[in-house]
Amino acid sequence: MKNLSKIFFLIILLSGISFTAQTAEKVEYLKTDWSFKGLFGKFDRASLQRGYQVYTEVCSSCHSMKYLSYRNLAEKGGPEFSLEQAKAIAASFEVKDGPNADGEMFTRPGKLSDKFVMPYENVKAAQAANGGAYPPDMSVLVKARGGGVDYIYSLLQGYEDPPADVSLDDGVYYNKYMYGNKIKMSNQLSDGLVEYSDGTNATVEQMSKDVTTFLMWAAEPHLEARHKMGFKAIVYLIILTTLVYFSMKKIWSRVETKI
């Protein structure tokens, strides 16, 4: 009987090995320090603000962010632009509104309550303008990709010349980190592409990190509140558990059984 269980543990071990072998085949993502990881992780405000700049100046011409509103930019735990800055950002966009009293649609400057302006009217229009590939909405993109922030950070820097045995169609590019290595988005970032107002050197690496941080916040706007509350909740639970443990000891001491 002992042998039987040994056999099964061997099988588990084997499958464990094959699992690690499988993951080893995958490309290792580029690593960087994310300030928002860990029990007390918080966003780097300056990085979020720079990331927003990269998004607006580079990504937003194709990628929508339909779940974000301009007011979010001034909210706690986000880029924390001042209310005036956020209002100015909103007002710099033309928002379609209406119908007015005459039944006409009209445009007006954006307000804080408006959603981020979308680059295309609808998915079909986006596909038509991008050779049939829909540039995905970026509101929850980080959570919608298995590798999360590391994947996106790597992808943005993963453009390479294709190996000799890979042939690419028109409008398809080679990316080391893309699933299947073929991507319909061309390399968007180059050193000095944007001019950061805080003077940070806009290298490809820096821009990738900033915009990925921004996307992480966009997907998980309450991350800071979550980490903060989580720490309090767990400390509280540990205290209560300790108290209950000693109460239990006391109560059970009335009967002889140990627990």
Binding site: F9, S18, K143, R226, H227, F231
Partner: protein, 420 residues
């Protein structure tokens, strides 16, 4: 229900209790004689009650903000996550709560398997438990469809298509389930309705489960019948209440860790992509708690037989009280069954693992072997073991092993060697 007569002290209490004996019920519950040698594996009943209530309360809150419409479901979930006050917290508790619920229920079931809690006279408790488990799976599956992401949509498509395996009427049933020619808005709205209903059915069954438990009383690690109330029992309150409370708090620490620090780790990234009927995700997997059954389904090459195998894997549990022919309840006194028990645990874990892997090559082979073993365990090993196994002598009362310390496996073993 009551083992003893109870008379309230106050006159009003008497008057009320004569008309509606709630006080008698409350008294029964507080005084309920519980074996005092129950170990921590017995605390999961209380933990499961907590899980059910948590899911119902957070679910009610989510239903106040969720919109069950194919065009708006995904948006409304994002609205909950972003704008509703504490919406993110409530949704993460609900989503991770489902996983915690299943974690607890699996521990509860395997505890029952180890200590033979399903055996006479507790067969009805066990069967009600299996029905609760089936309903939990239905509720969890339908709940997973509601956010209307890619996994929701394709999970719903794949699972509802299982019914097409039924000869002759299968296709008709699938169309009827969908309310159309594919999973679409009518499917979503009916899933929402049923997802809302099922927890209350579960709640009712839980009452029956506990009622049926209170007739013979709890089984215990030694697995012998005890006299109650006696020196082998303690009143439920405060002894078991505080112990369950302590275990529940430990459980909540784990729960909180998931909710606050890795809220999405148990879910699938593809479910943050809005449902698209034109594109299937590369690799469809159910939530982790359904993986063993998914592996059984895929290990059979025939469509109908695969479905039959999967359903049988669950329904066979209902016949367990009669498949296990041993008169001894606790595995502590069944040295050979104990081995097979751990092999079964490993087997189910393996099934879960291969269920998450693509159904090809070595994985498929392992899944087939593990599936075959699963049925072998219940259909052959258990009945044969019942009359061939040489069991250890069982003590006359639970006080006997208690004197040697806590009646867990290790100490029982130690005692065993001391006796020899």
């Amino acid at each position: 229900m009551s083992d003893h007569e109870y008379t309230p002290k106050s006159n009003f209490g008497k008057w009320f209790n004569d008309r509606l004996p709630l006080l008698t019920l409350a008294n029964h519950l507080t005084d309920y004689p519980t074996p005092k040698n129950l170990n921590y594996w017995w605390t999961f009943g209380g933990i499961l009650t907590f899980c059910l209530i948590t899911q119902i309360v957070t679910g009610l809150v989510l239903a106040m903000h969720y919109i069950a419409h194919a065009d708006m479901a995904f948006d409304s979930v994002e609205h909950i996550m972003r704008d509703v006050n504490y919406g993110w917290l409530i949704r993460y508790i609900h989503a991770n709560g489902a996983s915690m619920f299943f974690l607890a229920v699996y521990i509860h079931i395997f505890r029952s398997l180890f200590y033979g809690s399903y055996k006479s006279p507790r067969e009805i408790i066990w069967i009600i438990g299996i029905i609760i488990y089936l309903l939990m799976m239905a509720a969890a599956f339908m709940g997973y469809v509601l956010p209307w992401g890619q996994m929701s949509f394709w999970g719903a498509t794949v699972i509802t298509n299982l019914f097409s395996a039924i000869p002759l009427v299968g296709e008709g049933i699938v169309t009827w389930l969908w309310g159309g020619y594919s999973v679409d808005n009518p499917t979503l709205t009916r899933f929402f309705t049923l997802h809302y209903l099922i927890p209350f059915l579960i709640l009712g069954l839980v009452v029956l489960h506990i009622w049926a438990l209170h007739v013979p009383g709890n089984n215990n690690p030694v697995g012998i019948d005890i006299k109650k109330p006696s020196k082998d029992t303690v009143p439920f309150h405060p002894y078991i209440v505080i112990k369950d409370g302590f275990a529940l708090l430990m459980f909540m620490i784990v729960f909180a860790f998931f909710v606050f620090y890795t809220p999405n780790i148990l879910g699938h990234a593809d479910n943050y992509i809005e449902a698209d009927p034109l594109v299937t995700p590369a690799h469809i997997v159910p939530e982790w708690y359904l993986l063993p059954f998914y592996a059984i389904l895929r290990s059979v090459p025939d469509k109908l037989l695969g479905v039959v195998a999967m359903l049988s894997a669950i329904l066979i549990l209902a016949a367990l009280p009669w498949l296990d022919t041993s008169k001894i309840r606790s595995a502590v006194f069944r040295p050979i069954y104990r081995q097979f028990y751990w092999v079964l645990v490993a087997d189910v874990l393996i099934l879960g693992y291969v269920g998450a892997m693509p159904a090809e090559g070595l994985y498929l082979l392992v899944a087939r072997v593990a599936t075959a073993y699963y049925f072998l365990h219940f259909l052959v090993i258990l009945p044969v073991l019942g009359w061939r196994e040489k069991t250890l002598p069982i003590p006359l009362s639970i006080t006997e092993p208690i004197l040697g310390g806590s009646p867990n496996l290790a100490t029982a073993k130690k005692k065993e060697s001391l006796d020899n």
